[in-house]
């Protein structure tokens, strides 16, 4: 056995109350093994203790952590090792790859310099040998033109290429175990697919083991041999990947498997963790078809947006972020916009609200072109088209209480006759989006991501909009929380008849939400069709590639 974790418990000292040290338990007795040449996956939501478990293996926990139990690396106890012994193991025998490659690479050093450094310090290579080895490594992780990339800076590489560099760095000292902590979460689906393939091929080529950490069970199903499902610092279930996917024993595992929207079936509501934990396995109604003759609320004609960047002293170069986008949106319908980062989908969404000033085209809302309105007319229209942003941590003003956040838009637009009426309405909306009234006097940082996104949705609702642009509104959330928010959005649409513009990189989520889908690439719409048609018979090669890249762990094992 390469690595054996026995009854590992980690707690953090969080402060002192009356002279007693307060501790917060993060991991409560976790046991699993990583055999030679195999992939073990730790799966759980944020706060499940999966990352803490991995970091305690290599001793990279913060000062205030206390560990107990045992971590055996080749029959050698790591928890009791000295800092020097640990350092010898870390990097040489166990290497780590983290979630965000942009954060992990030093922006002012070339990729090559960062690759060469561990080779020279750990393996004592000289400059020339280390350089050759580094280029070899870059080649091995599939970076095109490795000799040229050696002298690139991190910002000159794409996200996927940066993650490849991180993997090359981890492989430098030929580790026996690679710990990958959410290595693909920050990447696009097609790039995620490439990185997964790379990791799988490296594992078999080098005979090393992989400890793969992810919140996405579907993704894990593609790569792991053995799955450990964690929740609240405990192991809920572990077993071989086939067993977990074909006959999950634990309710929580079943819930995780079910709460992710799939491409196969079209349901009206997703099942959330709580349904499963209560064992309330309700029938899953299929979605009702929508009225195809509903009135058109938003019509967009050849919308375009360019950014200008200075070139030299007098010239400017044009970057066409969005080109010639047209669509119509009917009341109560949802338009899905799919694309990878840089495809212009977010720019398109922001242009609809004129948060970016579009360069050309028409946005016709209720017979008026939004782009030619005067400021005063525009203020009235603002009420009717609203937006929910991707990152619920950034889109709420941290200095405003939730109540203040909700009352402000009503004050600006004179909704409600006085403060009391507005506050009553705000409270009502809080209940509507599933929050407790006590949230009213609190600040955004006191809420989890899913709750914050509910607050952001409630802020939109204060203005009674007709169209809501959802810009990657659930992408930053855990799969289970994602399901709850998606259900909420559906419920609200049914209740109020909103039209959504649903922007996402995740086709499965878009399928769940949308009636019609726009697929964008490099600012251009490559395919536009109803959801069913698009999934059944994708025409554009890019759409086919997107569909193929979606992890379908459960399905691939079952079929």
């Amino acid at each position: 056995m390469l690595l054996s974790v026995q009854d590992l418990a980690v707690s953090f000292r969080v402060g002192k109350v009356n002279g007693n040290v307060e501790r917060a338990g993060a991991v409560k007795g976790v046991t699993f093994d990583v055999p030679q040449n195999s992939t073990v996956a730790l799966v759980g939501e944020s706060g499940s203790g999966k990352s803490v478990t991995a970091m305690s293996i290599v001793g990279l926990l913060p000062e205030n952590a206390e560990c107990s139990g045992s971590v055996l690396w080749k029959q050698h106890e790591l928890l009791a090792s000295s800092a020097d012994q640990l350092r010898a193991v870390r990097g040489r025998e166990i290497a780590c790859v983290f979630q965000d490659p942009m954060q992990s690479l030093n922006p002012v050093m070339t990729v090559g310099a960062q690759l060469v450094e561990p080779l020279r310090t750990h393996l004592g290579m000289n400059r020339r040998v280390a350089r050759d080895r580094a280029i070899e490594l870059l080649d091995e992780v599939g970076l095109p033109e490795p000799a040229r990339r050696f002298d690139s800076y991190p910002h000159e590489l794409s996200g996927g290429q940066q993650q490849r560099v991180m993997i090359a760095m981890a492989l430098g000292c030929e580790p026996k175990l690679l710990i990958a902590d959410e290595p693909t979460t920050a990447l696009d689906v097609t790039v995620q697919r490439q990185i997964l393939n790379l990791l799988a091929s490296l594992k078999s080529a080098r005979g090393m083991s992989l400890l793969f950490i992810s919140h996405d069970l579907g993704l894990v199903g593609e790569i792991a041999d053995h799955v450990v499902v964690m929740r609240h610092g405990e192991v809920r279930e572990q077993g071989s990947t086939e067993r977990i996917f074909s006959s999950p024993a634990d309710n929580y595992t079943k819930a995780l498997l079910a709460c992710r929207p799939t491409l196969q079936d079209h349901v009206a509501r997703l099942r959330v963790i709580d349904d499963h934990m209560r064992d309330a396995v309700a029938a899953r109604p299929t979605a009702k078809p929508k009225d195809p003759e509903a009135p058109v609320v938003l019509e967009v004609r050849s919308l375009a947006k360019s950014f200008w960047s200075p070139r030299g002293l007098f010239r400017k170069s044009e970057f066409k972020a969005v080109r010639d986008v047209s669509f119509t949106l009917r009341k109560g319908h949802t338009l899905g916009v799919v694309g990878e980062s840089g495809s212009g989908k977010t720019t398109m969404g922001l242009s609809l609200l004129r948060l970016h000033e579009p360069s050309a085209g028409q946005v016709i809302f209720d017979g008026q072109d939004l782009l030619t309105l005067t400021d005063r007319q525009r203020q009235v229209m603002r009420r009717r088209i609203q937006i929910v942003f991707q990152n619920p941590y950034a889109s709420l003003n941290p200095r405003f209480t939730v109540g203040r956040t909700l009352v402000e838009p009503m004050e600006i637009h004179g909704i409600g006759k006085d403060l009391a009426a507005r506050e009553a309405r705000a409270l009502d909306l809080l209940l509507r989006v599933g929050l407790d009234p006590s949230a009213f006097g609190k600040y955004p940082h006191e809420f989890s991501g899913g709750q914050r996104q509910r607050i952001a949705i409630a802020r939109c609702l204060t203005l009674d909009p007709e169209v809501i642009v959802l810009d990657e509104a659930v992408s930053a959330l855990d799969v289970s929380v994602q399901a709850q928010v998606l259900n909420l959005l559906k419920d609200l649409q049914d209740a109020f008849g909103f039209a959504y513009v649903f922007i996402s990189h995740d086709l499965a989520v878009v399928r769940f939400m949308s009636d019609e889908v726009l697929v964008m690439k490099d600012g251009v719409v490559v395919e536009q069709a109803s959801t069913e048609t698009l999934l059944a018979a994708p025409k554009a090669a890019y759409t086919q590639a997107l569909l193929a890249a979606i992890p379908r762990g459960a399905a691939s094992v079952r079929s």
Partner: protein
């Protein structure tokens, strides 16, 4: 409900929406150190008001003690023998025959009797000692605070106001307006500070208000740069975008949304400016551009104290530095508490 929900305590909730500044004030009131510091600052301000209105320290110029009188707690200066030759004993020699003025002594004595002599005995010790002219150091310190604090705080407020407003406009709007303000900033930065002060002094003339204006109009640049950077950073944040989406005006986004989020920069800078300006007033007075020669400020006291200190008369220096230290520390602590109060994330950590 979310799976990772935080504990909701209905008891702690309050069902009304407070403004940012009012909520900050409520949090400030619970900060013991902040309130204590604020009390000291207010005491200083009251003292200043009292001395400006002439209730206390009105007679600071009266030479009530002997030169360099010692503080009460040290007792009077030991009498030092000034002469080495002993005074001869016995009656004075009669020189009447030799003295040509002798016949007129009686006449002069009669003349002097017509005037009433009112000789005040000068105190050997004063409450906190006296200066070289025997003026009460404590009264001087109180009177001096009037100018120093007034100049320091008011000039810092002027500079903060200019820096914040210009920085906010420049950082928020950018483009042409930003370029123009950057150009003005560069002009101010390019001229050596002391030269700029001379130029302003030449325009405004001498006096307390001109010192305030000079310091305020020259000292905003550093703050401007920092506020501008913060506004540029926050201007593109999603919460500001979200505010734009709900239709909040430019002014509202700048001063209601962004400003509370960058207020820590402004407050810390302002505390530093107050300290800097109190010292700058000293330099200005020294160069003859500050307050008049017949006025007193902590700065002029420090300037005098240099020569006193060499001769062992430390109390003037102590009085000026102590007052300055207490005020400046209290002011810094107060702005720190204000900074904390504006940050809801620190709530509950006190």
């Amino acid at each position: 409900m979310s799976v990772t929900s935080v504990e909701l305590e209905p008891a702690a909730s309050q069902i009304h929406s407070e403004g940012v500044w009012r909520a900050a004030w409520r949090r400030f009131a619970t900060d013991r150190i902040g309130v204590f510091a604020a009390t000291i600052v207010i005491t200083f301000l009251l003292l200043i008001a009292a001395s400006a209105l002439g209730f206390i320290a009105e007679n600071w110029e009266a030479e009530t003690g002997v030169p360099n009188a010692r503080p009460h707690f040290l007792g009077p200066a030991p009498v030092v023998e000034t002469s080495v030759i002993a005074m001869p004993s016995g009656p004075n020699a009669d020189l009447t025959e030799l003295d040509p003025l002798a016949p007129r002594y009686a006449e002069w004595d009669a003349q002097t009797k017509q005037y009433a002599v009112n000789e005040t005995t000068k105190a050997q010790t004063l409450a906190f000692g006296g200066d070289w002219r025997g003026r009460d150091v404590l009264a001087k310190a109180v009177k001096g605070s009037e100018i120093s604090v007034f100049v320091g705080v008011l000039a810092a407020l002027v500079a903060t106001l200019i820096g914040t407003v210009l920085g906010a406009i420049s950082g928020f709007f950018g483009r042409r307006i930003g370029d123009l303000l950057e150009w003005i900033y560069n002009v101010f930065e390019a001229i050596p500070g002391i030269l700029l002060i001379f130029a302003f002094a030449a325009v405004f003339g001498r006096g307390m208000i001109s010192v305030v204006l000079i310091l305020g109009l020259t000292g905003w640049t550093g703050l401007y740069r920092q506020v501008r950077a913060e506004f540029m950073k926050h201007g593109s944040r999603e919460y500001v975008r979200a505010a734009e989406a709900i239709g909040a005006s430019n002014t509202s986004r700048m001063f209601r949304h962004i400003l509370p989020n960058v207020s820590h920069v402004v407050l810390v800078r302002m505390a530093l400016l107050v300290v800097g300006f109190i010292k700058a007033e000293v330099i200005l007075s020294y160069l003859g551009l500050g307050v008049g020669v017949d006025d007193v400020s902590w700065g002029t006291m420090l300037a005098e104290a240099q020569s006193d200190l060499i001769r062992g008369y430390w109390w003037q220096l102590a009085a000026a530095t102590l007052s300055m230290a207490v005020f400046v520390t209290a002011f810094s602590l107060m702005t720190d508490a204000a900074r904390d109060a504006l940050d809801p994330k620190l709530r509950g950590l006190e």
